[in-house]
């Protein structure tokens, strides 16, 4: 099992069994998830390696394990440089007091591997050099005559060898080298070769503890009736029925609604069912997806904030540009583990158990709600049953602490599936109008106007920079803040920008009478994206074309420092799209753990197929219409295409993989539908009506 109990103090002072330990701290850049907004405060020491007298190498992984394999990938980087025995390398969770940690603990933006690559290699190398020096001193031989291998320092000339654990006491007294030599990648034995994920044994036999699985002595369970419409206010509460339910212990108001606290989950759910709350939903009267689409589409004729402008766009567009309007709905993340958090308010502090992507922000949120200092909040971050950006929010912790303030003992606040879908942090609804012109087989002009129901960071990035050489380009936008809560959804604004820009590029290729792949390639400015594109089309057999009755479509998007191209093969029957095959070409620098990486790409494609073909969130009368997987259907196994993943061989530093394979998929499928049927789909998710048009 993954050890989740390290404290900073334990870590610094001693090994697992007491006694000597070699501890190495190095520097990690602060999370650059929202680097555009928050640049600046430099470097903090944050990567910790500890080698104890038993030779166990512990590596603190200050990132959330969401299924992306970070508990394995990051220690692999350390172990490679350290020349550790992989069987003795263990990930450790970050401290339970995130405020004591040297950077915010936050997992998002596909940054974990990218930001860890240099510092973790350096940390591993520094520890290796210290161990070599300690061994050399003990043996009285020059350091260059020693080498590290599989957890030992070896002196080849004399055949002597010492295990790391036997050297830590002396090594710990040596200065940490500033600039230790890094390995020649040609000598890598771990990086680039598949290693089994360390979190899997407990994920196949029921032991892995997610947030919902927290079990504490005397723990109560609460279910909270939250506002049925955004911004709704309570008019009256009749809790008489709820209180009669066997096992219900208390019912009270919290700022988010009405909490039913019970002995166990079933009593809490039944109590909540018996609760009668009258709400004033007038604050969000008239708030609906339809109204928002109408309002935002009305802005398409008005110039917006300019994100990018170059060349004389109107002149370039000429009298007969290609035009297209696109619309995309709100999206819920819908991780399989519903939202939940457990909190215990006592002795002037709070203890929290939560499956979160943001330990530090959660600690601060709990402190704010409880009115204590962050250092008085103990954070227990559990495995997360999916994140996808939903667990970058802290509403789960805030609600749990609000309830816990009124409960004697620990209380788990479990959201139902309906609570989770109706109280999300949605990918904003957006609309887009594109106009473009081709001349002499080249894109001459491009105008993209977007409008979105959210803030700039969730709507706009990706808009200014289609990955193509375009002489005259304008990108402008309108933003409308609404009462619908919005947030970062795996690949954020690229979920819509990838679809819109790559669908439109396809339309321009057709206007030019060009092959969509070659048209893209001829305009492409980023060589790594071009390499990914070439790889995907080669593996997909693009030039062979699709089998009869099917179409091939391609799309390519750079996002989060990585580059992804996808080819989809589809057929359409009676308005239903069947995706038969998706071939992905990825350029993400050097690959650390190849099988895990492939899994991330497969998963990203599946997630993107969901929002392409199956689901969207609809707001009506200020409330989310969908409530469960019946109304918000996910992809199923029987709908899955064959998915093939290829990576461009590269010695570049690794970049992220969680998000970048999402953005091209919807456009690749839409472009394939066009190839198969001649119908251009400009709205997600696809509807049968659109496909019959």
């Amino acid at each position: 099992m993954v050890d989740r109990t390290v404290t900073r103090r334990d870590f610094l002072l001693t090994g697992a069994k007491g006694g000597a330990a070699l501890v190495v701290a190095v520097h990690l850049p602060a999370s650059d998830l929202f680097a555009e907004e928050a640049r600046g405060d430099g470097f903090h020491p944050a990567a910790w390696i500890r080698i104890d007298a038993e030779g166990i190498v512990s590596v603190v992984v200050d990132e959330a394990e969401l299924g992306q394999g970070v508990l394995t990938t990051l220690p692999m980087i350390v172990a490679e440089e350290l020349e550790a025995d992989w069987s003795k390398v263990k990930p450790l969770m970050p401290p339970r007091d995130p405020s004591s940690w040297v950077r915010p603990i936050s997992t998002g933006g596909s940054t974990s591997t990218r930001t860890a690559w240099d510092p973790l290699r350096k940390a591993g190398a520094a520890a290796r050099e210290m161990l070599r020096e300690a061994a050399a001193r003990r043996w009285g031989v020059p350091i260059p005559e020693t080498r590290a291998e599989k957890g030992e320092i070896i002196h080849a000339a004399s055949g002597r060898r010492l295990a790391f654990g036997e050297l830590v006491e002396e090594a710990a007294r040596l200065p940490v080298p500033d600039d230790p030599p890094l390995k020649d990648p040609a000598d890598y034995t771990l990086i680039g070769r598949p290693k089994p994920r360390v979190d899997l044994p407990e994920k196949v036999d029921g032991r892995a503890a997610f947030g919902t699985d927290v079990a504490l002595d005397g723990m109560r369970v609460a279910s909270v009736e939250q506002a049925p419409a955004f911004g709704a206010r309570i008019l009256s509460v009749d809790d008489s029925g709820a209180r009669q339910v066997d096992g219900v212990l208390d019912v009270f108001r919290v700022p988010q609604g009405v909490a039913v606290v019970a002995r166990d989950t079933w009593a809490a759910l039944r109590g909540r069912e018996a609760l009668r709350v009258e709400w004033d939903t007038s604050p969000s009267a008239g708030l609906s997806s339809d109204a928002l689409f109408g309002e935002l589409e009305g802005l398409m004729d008005e110039a917006g904030e300019v994100e990018e402008e170059r060349g004389d766009v109107e002149a370039a567009l000429g009298p007969d540009p290609v035009t297209a309007d696109f619309r995309l709905p709100f999206l819920d993340h819908a991780p399989m583990e519903p939202m939940n958090a457990t909190a215990w308010v006592r002795d002037g502090g709070v203890e929290v158990w939560v499956p979160t992507q943001v330990a530090t922000a959660s600690q601060e949120a709990a402190a704010r709600v409880a009115g204590v200092r962050p250092s008085r909040v103990v954070m227990n971050v559990t495995f997360a049953g999916g994140g996808f950006g939903r667990r970058l929010e802290t509403d789960d912790v805030e609600l749990a602490v609000e309830v816990a303030k009124r409960v004697d003992g620990p209380v788990q606040v479990l959201w139902t599936r309906e609570d989770s879908i109706r109280h999300g942090a949605y990918r904003p609804l957006t609309v887009h109008r594109l106009r473009g012109a081709v001349a002499g087989g080249r894109v001459a002009g491009w105008h993209h106007r977007a409008a979105g129901a959210g803030g700039r960071g969730l709507v706009v990035p990706g808009m200014a920079s289609p990955p193509y050489r375009i002489p005259a380009l304008r990108a402008d936008y309108h933003l409308k803040e609404t009462a619908v809560p919005v947030g970062a959804w795996r690949s954020v604004s690229y979920t819509h920008m990838g679809f819109v820009i790559e669908s439109f590029m396809d339309m321009l290729a057709h206007r030019a009478g060009a092959d969509p792949y070659r048209f893209r390639r001829a305009h492409m400015t980023e060589p790594r994206l071009r390499a990914a594109l070439d790889l995907a089309v080669e593996k997909a057999g693009w030039d062979r074309g699709a089998p009869d009755g099917r179409g091939l479509g391609v799309a390519a998007v750079s996002s989060f420092s990585s580059h992804a191209a996808e080819v989809a093969e589809v057929s359409v029957e009676d308005g239903r799209v069947r995706v038969h095959r998706v071939v992905a070409g990825i350029h993400c620098g050097r690959v650390i753990n190849p099988d895990t990486l492939r899994g991330q790409v497969e998963g990203a494609i599946t997630l993107a197929l969901g929002y392409t073909l199956k689901h969207g969130i609809t707001v009506r009368d200020g409330a989310v219409v969908q409530g469960n997987f019946t109304g918000y259907p996910l992809m199923r196994i029987d709908e899955m295409p064959e998915v093939e993943v290829y990576t461009v061989p590269s010695e570049d530093p690794p970049t992220g993989i969680g998000e970048p394979p999402v953005p091209p998929l919807a456009a690749a499928v839409a472009n394939a539908v066009f190839a198969a049927t001649g119908v251009r789909v400009t709205e997600l998710p696809f509807t049968r009506e659109a496909l019959r048009a």
Partner: protein, 157 residues
């Protein structure tokens, strides 16, 4: 009411309201947390358990329905060790977040009991009620095929 049934080979009696879903008896009363809550309405399969050799969605099965029955959960799918599927699940790196995987494994194990060498279509039919947001489906399919092969070679098929 009082309900008696066998869970993972052990006879247990619980005192709960009779409409209590098996899911909450397993998770809250018996502290078997491997069986997961996700949808509550039998459309995702995360709560799948084996009741008398049938795959059952515990979230909508009243505990009274399993009186005298035999329930097996993920905690004892492999008996003392690992079920072939569990071992292959690790080797093929099927799980990502892992939350839905106990349900997938329980469903897949019952599929192999009835259909030792399932086709893709049979896997699709049997597994279509299990949802995975991480998108592990192609690996689920591959792992089931491989388990079928290995069980056949080992003479269990």
């Amino acid at each position: 009411m009082s309900v008696t049934f066998t869970v993972n080979g052990e006879r247990r009696t619980v005192e709960v309201p009779e409409d209590t879903p098996l899911l909450w008896v397993l998770r809250d009363t018996l502290q078997l947390k491997g069986t997961k809550y996700s949808c509550g309405v039998a459309v995702c399969g995360a709560c799948t358990v084996d009741v008398d050799g049938q795959a059952v969605r515990a979230c909508v099965t009243p505990v009274s329905a399993v009186q005298d029955g035999r329930v097996t959960t993920i905690e004892s799918l492999g008996g003392e060790g690992l079920h072939t599927l569990q071992r292959i699940w690790i080797e093929e790196e099927v799980p990502q977040c892992g939350y839905c995987q106990p349900g997938f494994l329980m469903q897949a194990a019952l599929l192999l009991e009835r259909t030792p060498e399932p086709t893709d279509a049979e896997i699709d039919r049997e597994m279509a009620g299990n949802l995975c947001r991480c998108g592990t489906y192609s690996r689920v399919r591959r792992a089931i095929h491989r388990a079928a092969r290995e069980r056949k070679e080992a003479g269990h098929g």
